[in-house]
Symmetry: C2
Subunit: 343 residues, 2 copies
């Protein structure tokens, strides 16, 4: 269907046939200010409400759709854009999986981007930090890219990549975030949750909250690994600080053993401690993810960890789904969905 002539150049794509598309807010709350609204003084809050803390969702349903939709949830500092056009201008997961017949729902979590209406005031910093993310997202060690990294060397690609960051418009609150995404599953019914980084741990929570989550694909989950009470491993020290496991009631944990789960990690994660927090961070996260997958399976679950270099796929960053080889990465996800009867 896609005729790829060279990385970053896609020509003669078949058209997308979309049965329905649109957007909506889901979840959230309403704050009410006591008093009486005075229409002559509309800037006074008395008697007014604020609808906020919802998620914003943009969805597309292809013709001849598969049954289960994919709900794609971005990570820290990101929004639905994560899954759209890649930094170097190729199709992202939004469109790749539409082509593969899946309804695709892109989430902006509460207090982020199109879901910016927060019930708690916030402040937005303008502190330069692009280089922090260049290292943390494992494009390389600024200003050098990793040899063989699956990221375009075109300057415009890095420009686009930096510009897809967005700030929080209010304090991050895991309960607010997970309730809104759970409300999305209440609205749309059964589906597969696709998470990235920060939403990885939040995604386990949503999967425990809502039985409509029928499978989870987690790209590089970064925190929130849940273990049954008494079974959490000790915190793992790293140059980025200690990574703590999270204990939950066994009955809650067991809910995660009832859905197929796959976890992917990319390349350039050091095996030994590194003084670079942007890399050492991922060393302990990958190590914790291995313990977590073992715990899920020990309790009768169905979790798989795929460390991409171990299957011969090299150079992936923290964003495998938008890397230069993202069609290959998507094929791995398609295989998982097929094997687990989620497609």
């Amino acid at each position: 269907m896609a005729a790829v002539t060279a990385p970053g150049r896609v020509v003669e794509q078949a058209p997308l046939v979309i049965q329905a598309q649109g957007s909506f807010a889901v979840g959230g709350t309403v704050v009410r200010q006591p008093g009486t609204f005075d229409p002559a003084r509309p800037v006074m809050p008395q008697g007014q409400t604020l609808h906020g803390d919802h998620a914003r969702v943009f969805y597309q349903v292809p013709q001849n759709r598969r049954q289960l939709p994919l709900v794609m949830w971005h990570g820290f500092g990101q929004f639905g854009k994560t899954w759209e056009t890649t930094a170097d201008g190729r199709e992202g997961y939004q469109t790749i999986f539409l082509r593969r017949g899946f309804p695709v729902y892109l989430v902006d979590q509460p207090r982020r981007a199109g879901a910016g209406r927060s019930t708690v005031a916030g402040s937005v910093s303008a502190t330069p930090d692009d280089q922090r993310w260049f290292n943390m997202f494992r494009l390389g060690r600024w200003p050098e890219f990793f040899a063989g990294v699956q990221f375009s060397r075109d300057a415009e690609a890095l420009n686009q990549y930096f510009r897809q960051m967005v700030p929080d418009t209010g304090p991050f609150d895991p309960q607010v975030a997970t309730q809104a995404v759970s409300a999305l599953f209440d609205k749309i019914g059964p589906g597969v949750l696709v998470t990235h980084s920060h939403s990885g741990g939040l995604g386990w929570t949503v999967a425990m909250m809502n039985p409509q989550v029928r499978g989870v694909v987690a790209y590089e989950p970064g925190s929130g690994f849940v273990f049954p009470s008494g079974e959490a491993p000790p915190a793992m020290p790293s140059a980025a600080g200690p990574l703590e496991a999270v204990e939950v009631a066994k009955a809650e944990f067991d809910k995660l053993t009832r859905v197929p789960i796959v976890v992917f990690y990319g390349d350039n994660i050091p095996a030994q401690p590194s003084p670079n927090p942007g890399e050492d961070n991922w060393r302990v996260r990958l190590a914790m993810a291995r313990l977590w997958v073992e715990a899920i399976n020990r309790h009768g679950g169905d979790a798989t960890l795929v460390h991409l270099p171990q299957i011969g796929i090299r150079g992936n960053t923290h964003f495998p789904f938008s890397d230069l080889n993202n069609v290959q990465i998507a094929d791995l996800m398609s295989d998982f969905l097929a094997r687990k009867n989620l497609d």
Copy 2:
């Protein structure tokens, strides 16, 4: 193509055939912090950059496209959502005009929603103000809707409507906003600019900056009416404060006389001064728009003002393009584009 059974219920829509879709950042600037980046202390800003102040754009190009794309720019407190699914769940301009063969580009202006990365720090208030917007956007006089208003009485519609507001993530700066949207026209070439409310005046600026703007459709422009030096009318007092005209050099103004322009206003705009700022605001804006259209035409331009009630179309709010009769409103826009050879 669309079989509408009742307001808010659309069934058996033909599928959309999309040749290409995607998203990108455009325009913006880069801030550089002096010093040297220390990878061991990545939260320190020294030596780091911040890419910000761009616009975020989501676009779709239908199969068998018309030549000129439509660039849709939201108003105050809004983002690209303005043009997506309506509050009561029907298709908005994004999808309506895709069906009519136009490439559609939805903008989030700099420091808003998906373009939230600002080079200047900001603060986000959580002050309740839904009722302010209910009145200002002329749904009615809270808590009553106007009789016959083109807005669903379904409670969920109002819930969705309130939730499509988003805050600024940095100080609003008209130069930042207009430069980013002008950069979009530099990137995509000739097109038609569709503005709403706050982007109305900004849109005149972009049309003066960039000859790629080949026509302008303005829904309820709220400020920034430009007149040649020496020809600005006096400020118009209102219950919402005075509305000031803006003077520009005659040579700049003349650029607006070279493109077809249509301006639409909805219903429930009082003809006489009202103590309600949410209504009186629009009285002077409509009056100023009339003087502005006269000035454009006096100088050889081609501008039309359509006050919808005067052509028998009743009940429109500040958002005619998403009101219950938005297909009828879209037909008026299609007629304009056809008459001016912009389709």
